[in-house]
Symmetry: C3
């Protein structure tokens, strides 16, 4: 068995779950927070047979799209009367970061 941990964008999580459930996969969802943007995202735990890893990664690719976001970094400290001139920074978000871990043993009771 393998454990796939996939960290996905909040908006993609629902669609991804649907895609997995329809094909009979099982998953558990954790509400998580991104370390950099401090925004809510979702981490899915998906335990699958070894020969199903490829299929799950394919469903993740179908359902999680990368998109560009412009975030304005916090303006530097200013003199009174000065206007903040910060150029927005382009950050790629969405998509999914998926890790595959080996499961030595598993049991349902």
């Amino acid at each position: 068995m393998k454990l796939i941990m996939s960290i996905v964008n909040q908006e993609d999580a629902r669609g991804l779950l649907e895609g997995l459930m329809q094909r009979g996969f099982q998953a558990t969802v954790i509400s998580t927070t991104g370390g950099f943007l401090r925004e809510g995202n979702a981490t899915l735990l998906i335990g699958v047979e070894n020969n199903k890893v490829e299929e799950v990664l394919r469903i993740i690719r179908e359902r999680c799209r990368t998109r560009t976001r412009y975030i304005s970094p916090l303006p530097p400290l200013m003199e009174p009367g000065e206007l903040p001139v910060t150029t927005p920074v382009e950050v790629q978000v969405g998509g999914a970061t998926s890790l595959v871990l080996d499961v030595e043993r598993w049991e349902k009771c």
Copy 2:
């Protein structure tokens, strides 16, 4: 060291923690959500010495019982005046799904 990740029913989580704490095991609890029923459950992270895996799995078996639940699937779209006739679906819930992962290295600081 091994990491046991055990996904258990909300009602069983308290009793399981008690059983683990009494025997000196350490655990961390994550509030999670089931991918299929979308109901709250709990995922326990339990880091243990290699020779204690068996004992922890035994405590999990003692404290997490499987039970049958009847869930009514959402009724199909209906004509006005028609009565929904859906036969409840039998789903086994409760119990626990436990995964054992190898820990290459660990440290407390």
Copy 3:
């Protein structure tokens, strides 16, 4: 790639994230609960290249300090008029418990 799971004290989590982000590491934060004290803590998931594990563990050591706390165990049941005499128990908290797991494969999409 390796996955570092680090369970840290609530107060240390912010500083640890800052230290990681400044050096370009990526992390995901899970709000978790300690099994024994039942207090909120934080579990960081940090996926890093194999040769960066040492550096991340050093940042964790810098940012997470162990401290002593005195917790009063629940007083035993008493006769009316009796005064509870419980000696506080010394418990080491804070610090961090870090586990390093091997990642077989990872992908961003």
